[in-house]
């Protein structure tokens, strides 16, 4: 039966038509999505002066690590790399703790004033003061021009708090009750029972937070002026807007270094290498963790 249907399907002219369109479209999407990253990777491993001649599509013509060496030997870029890494680690951990603890309190059905707390949370999702009052707030809290502007304002995200609350509520009440009878307080219950049972939601939200921290250039651009607080994502924008190499290599490098540099790389290849440093961590964790990425949007769409 199944076999017969299959035979009929393949012979249908409409089927061939639909399949052709479908495969053309998915091949196109597949290539158009991946090729830009692949191309950047190729260019980032090519000699800059040579790359400027064009004609490189699939493989580096003059293979070199110089671009990456330049990125990781430049004080400014290296500093930005460490700022990005540290804020991603610290920011993600801090916001996971803050958001989950807040959500655990809220998830308790008999919590006093629960309705009031919830409405404060929901209202904050739909109404915002806008960027200007927000900037004034950060400025008055002395957060502008401070490393803490990367950590503190993103501690609690209303939407993630709600995802946590939903997850915590799905944990059977009996588990908490029995722990309580054994004399555990809410702090212990949270640490010993709730957190170990909630690894999927922690993983999902850690990923979202991590990606946010790693990709964020906005806070750097608008809330800081100190060059030492620049993140890698922000440096990338800086590199787009700049075309003279000497200014990119400024900061620790000598005239001689610049002269040597001029022969091997161009702003273009440096930009590609920096871009790869930003993209590669995401691409590397992506295949393994993408199911967690998807979980977030699916949970959201059911609500």
């Amino acid at each position: 039966m199944r076999r017969m249907k299959r035979v009929r399907r393949i012979s249908s002219r409409e089927d061939i038509f639909v399949d052709t369109i479908v495969y053309i479209v998915i091949t196109f999407v597949f290539l158009v999505t991946l090729y830009p990253f692949y191309y950047s990777l190729v260019i980032s491993f090519n000699n800059g002066i040579d790359a400027a001649r064009g004609g490189i599509f699939l493989w580096p013509r003059q293979f070199t690590f110089d671009n990456y060496k330049a990125v990781f030997s430049n004080d400014q870029l290296l500093g930005a790399f460490f700022i990005s890494v540290s804020r991603t680690v610290i920011g993600t951990i801090a916001s996971l703790i803050a958001t989950s603890v807040f959500a655990y309190g809220l998830s308790h059905k008999k919590l006093l004033f629960r309705k009031f707390y919830f409405s404060l949370l929901i209202i904050s999702m739909y109404f915002t003061g806008g960027i200007i009052p927000y900037f004034i707030l950060l400025n008055n809290l002395k957060l502008t021009n401070s490393y803490l502007v990367y950590i503190i304002p993103s501690l609690i995200t209303a939407w993630y708090a709600i995802l946590f609350v939903n997850f915590f509520q799905s944990i059977p009440e009996a588990l908490k009750e029995s722990a309580k009878i054994d004399g555990a307080n809410d702090l212990v219950i949270f640490g010993k029972i709730i957190v170990p049972l909630s690894t999927p939601i922690f993983a999902t939200i850690a990923l979202y937070m991590g990606v946010y921290h790693w990709n964020d250039w906005y806070s750097t651009a608008f809330f800081t002026q100190n060059k030492r607080l620049r993140t890698l994502a922000y440096i990338l924008i800086d590199l787009i807007n700049r075309s003279d190499l000497t200014s990119i290599l400024r900061g620790g490098t000598t005239q001689k270094d610049v002269a040597i540099a001029m022969q091997t790389f161009t702003p273009e290849t440096i930009r590609m290498a920096t871009m790869m440093v930003v993209v590669i961590p995401i691409v590397c964790v992506y295949p393994f963790l993408q199911k967690y990425f998807v979980k977030g949007i699916m949970v959201g769409s059911i609500k």
Binding site: V29, T33, P36, I43, S124, A158, V278
Partner: protein, 322 residues
């Protein structure tokens, strides 16, 4: 009288004892609430500076102590030389995205659903939403290198295929700006929103398809008469979401990033939008009240859009978000 008092006392005592019993939970929650009050509610109060002459040095107190000026800054914005270009640019960019970025994931989800090889389907889908997790800073970098006039890949292709005689300077020519924004937005966000639509399609009862095959329906007919009508509700919900965030750039919410990162002095007359101008006026020039007024206009329009699209969808289909 006496009895009532007594009763009030015990219930207060009861509340207090419950509160003490929940001391950890209350502490957890209140810490979060304090955070929200500071980072979400103080800025909401701060909106009043749109009607005042606020100076940054006056701090939080300045929200209340600075002088009322009524609608002065709203009038100034209306008379600003950039007012009409900004309105036009913001509207055009938002509407173009609604027209192109919104249907793209629906079409792609339907196409993906027609892929019979599950492995191919999964790989293509997984790849398609990778760009969602890439920063606009990177996407802008990719655009700059691909569209570069001298070394850009697109120009190399166009010239070698003899489609154009001279390389085009895409990023410096205002007439390409909107197309670049829309296409890069589709590139970045299509796969992500496909997840929702594909999930809706997968949820359709397979028996309906089986029955239609028995009735002799072809694949195109099945798509048209079963798949699309079955995901109508999902389409409407996502449409409301994207209408609500229309000014921000719809599903991707990328208007600001694109206009800020791809805008330059050459394409300023098309890339200058409400959000970027708010930033220029507010943060670069330090005119906070004026910028807050522009921000308020934007919030009010967004709110009206959310409510009206929700209302319309309730009228038409009987379903809405709230």
């Amino acid at each position: 009288m006496k009895k009532l008092n007594y009763g009030g006392l015990t219930s207060r005592n009861k509340i207090w004892s419950t509160f003490k019993e929940q001391k950890y939970l209350q502490a957890f929650t209140l810490a979060g609430i304090v955070f929200l009050l500071i980072f979400a509610y103080i800025p909401m109060v701060g909106i009043i500076i749109a009607f005042k002459d606020y100076k940054l040095t006056s701090g939080f107190a300045g929200f209340f102590t600075s002088k009322w000026v009524g609608f002065k800054y709203f009038k100034e914005f209306y008379n600003d030389v950039y007012f009409w270009p900004i309105i036009r640019n913001t509207m055009v960019l938002s509407l173009l995205k609604l027209v192109f970025t919104f249907p793209a994931p629906i079409i792609f989800a339907i196409i993906l659903n027609e892929v019979r090889n599950d492995k191919v389907k999964r790989v293509v889908q997984t790849v398609s939403y990778l760009p969602h997790f890439i920063s606009w800073a990177v996407v802008a970098g990719l655009l700059f290198s691909f569209l570069n006039q001298q070394t850009g890949l697109i120009n190399q292709l166009l010239v070698s295929l003899e489609i154009v005689d001279e390389p085009i300077s895409f990023l410096a020519d205002p007439k390409y700006f909107w197309a670049i924004c829309v296409l890069s937005d589709v590139w970045k966000e299509m796969g992500w929103w496909t997840i929702i639509f594909l999930a809706a399609i997968v949820g359709i009862d397979q028996e309906i398809y089986q029955a239609s095959i028995v009735d002799g329906a072809g694949r195109l007919q099945r798509i048209w008469y079963i798949t699309i009508p079955s995901i109508k509700e999902t389409i409407i919900v996502v449409l409301i979401l994207s209408l609500g965030s229309l000014l921000g750039g719809g599903l991707g919410g990328s208007n600001f990033e694109q206009a800020y990162l791809l805008g330059n002095t050459v394409n300023y007359n098309v890339s200058n939008i409400l959000q970027t101008y708010t930033m220029t006026v507010g943060l670069s020039k330090g005119r906070y009240s004026y910028a807050a007024a522009m921000g308020l206009i934007q919030s009010v329009i967004s709110l009206i859009l959310v409510y009206s699209s929700n209302y319309i969808s309730k009228k038409i289909s009987g379903s809405g978000l709230f």
